[in-house]
Amino acid sequence: MTVRINGKEFEVSPGTSVAAALLNIGYSGFRRSETGESRGPVCGMGICLECRVQIGGVRHVRACMVTCQDHMEIETDA
């Protein structure tokens, strides 16, 4: 299946979480912190909220809690 990340298409294996897919492709920074630092996943289980991205137009979605779907639109900010 393919997902679009920041406008570019990437192939991902079914069952991969959005967080894992982003890391596999080489995005280690997912969002910008309050003072502009680049941040990525920490807890991997939905608690720390560091891995927030935009998915399908919805902002602040935890990338570690969502499984990639075909044609999913993902936007990072870092």
Binding site: G15, A20, G29, E34, V42, M65
Partner: protein, 421 residues
């Protein structure tokens, strides 16, 4: 307005404790609901691996459906709008469900202690990295430094090696003598010996006891860690750093429901009953004890919740044995004081609001620090920095309020589902 969906027993959390509670209660014909934030039940221990559902998770799901347990997957409890009612946010939007008995099996989370560079991308938790690998992160040929404390360190080290990662070093902060004593004590727990042996020699050669991460370095992400052992510092290059210092309980939902908290944990009696009538708690929120203790506590809670007190009492001995095991872990993996002194004034402590250690030293409580610096006021609501400031400064955490997790505005301000009389 929809009618309120009512259950005999509602279980929050589908990890080892929650699954045991739901299965025990449903086994006697009670109408049981099982709520979990994840897309599938299983919690962290039985977390499904990428692509296909793992055999253990499939077994769990079949067991639940055989017993007609109603699952609310991908659903977060964010409010308790009235007595006996929980409000969820999930795939079907906002939903209220009612309960006669409630079992809180909400688990724990990793304890993170700040050090310079801990906020760099690719620096994460130990369980955190494992969860990501289970969700499809490819670690083949990646250099992963595993650091922190506790049995998870070795288990995840082995897991990463199995999945093709290069693990140059595993840093356990506890001194070797405490580890050896703990290892010798395992003789009393045959199930744990098997796990110990399977960790094997490839782990032993990488393990550095009495060693800890001082700082992580890198420009866009972690590139190396500087670690300390025996009064000397060493540097190791890596692609990922997995570092955490054991576990802390998730007590936010129990607190919201008014359950008494004692020394940071939910206070329960012999029957796993909290200070609130009809509300039980099992697993890590009542004391960090691992999967075996969680399962037996969950089973006890599920049985008492449907009035099977005698069946529950038969399990008290087993629970006591796993509690002893938990106490021996606490002793072996006690945190060294050096870990509380790693921050420099510009080290971030609250990752949500970017509050630095130097901004916090002037305040004497989490409440004043929160008001003055916004420490703990971000989206995680202090779940990460709260336990850290407790360790670093001895601050206790304040009260909780809904929503317990960030939910869309549309999820809030909804009238209560109609309650049938």
């Amino acid at each position: 307005m929809p009618e309120l969906d009512r259950f005999d027993v509602v279980v929050v959390g589908a990890g080892p404790a929650g699954l045991a509670a739901a299965n025990a209660a449903a086994g006697f014909g009670a109408r049981v609901a099982l709520i979990d934030e994840n897309e599938l039940p299983g919690g962290q221990i039985y977390r499904a691996s990428r692509g296909s559902i793992s055999a253990s998770v499939r077994e769990v799901i079949e067991d639940l459906s055989k017993k007609s347990v109603v699952r609310f997957d991908g659903s977060t409890v964010f409010e308790a709008p009235s007595d006996g009612v929980l409000r969820l946010w999930g795939p079907r939007g906002t939903q209220d469900i009612g309960y006669r008995s409630l079992v809180l099996a909400v688990g724990g989370r990793e304890l993170f202690l700040p050090f310079p560079g801990w906020t760099l991308p690719n620096a994460m938790g130990i369980g955190g990295l494992q969860a990501l690998v289970k969700a499809g992160l490819d670690v083949r040929e990646k250099r992963v430094v595993v650091a922190g404390t506790g049995p998870l360190l070795l288990a995840v080290g082995a897991y990463l090696l199995e999945h093709g990662a290069r693990v140059p070093i595993i840093l356990e902060q506890a001194p070797l003598k405490d580890l050896a004593l703990f290892g010798a004590g395992l003789v009393r727990y045959p199930a744990k010996i098997g796990q110990g042996i399977s960790l094997g020699r490839h782990i032993a050669t990488r393990l550095r006891a009495g060693a800890w991460v001082e700082r992580a370095e890198g420009s866009r992400a972690v590139e190396s860690v500087t670690w300390r052992k025996g009064g000397k510092s060493f540097q190791t290059e890596c692609d990922f750093l997995a570092c955490a210092y054991g576990f802390v309980p998730n007590v936010e939902l129990p607190q919201l429901l008014g359950c008494e908290i004692q020394d940071g944990f939910v206070k329960v009696d012999d029957q796993q009953l909290t200070s609130v009538k009809g509300v039980f708690c099992a697993g890590e929120p009542t004391g960090i004890g691992g999967v075996d203790l969680s399962q037996v506590e969950g089973r006890i809670a599920g049985l008492v919740a449907i009035g099977q007190d005698d069946q529950a009492e038969a399990l008290f001995g087993k629970r006591e044995s796993w509690k002893r095991f938990a106490r021996s872990m606490d002793r072996a993996f006690a945190l060294r004081h050096e870990l509380m002194e790693l921050s420099t004034p510009d080290t971030i402590v609250c990752r949500c609001e970017d509050v630095r250690a130097g901004d916090l030293v002037a305040w004497e409580s989490s409440r004043t620090a929160k008001l003055q610096t916004r420490c703990g006021m971000g989206p995680c609501q202090g779940r990460i920095c709260g336990p850290a400031t407790q360790k670093l400064f001895g601050w206790t955490q304040g009260s909780v309020r809904p929503p317990l997790s960030p939910v869309p505005l549309s999820a809030l301000g909804r009238p209560l589902d109609e309650i049938e009389n």
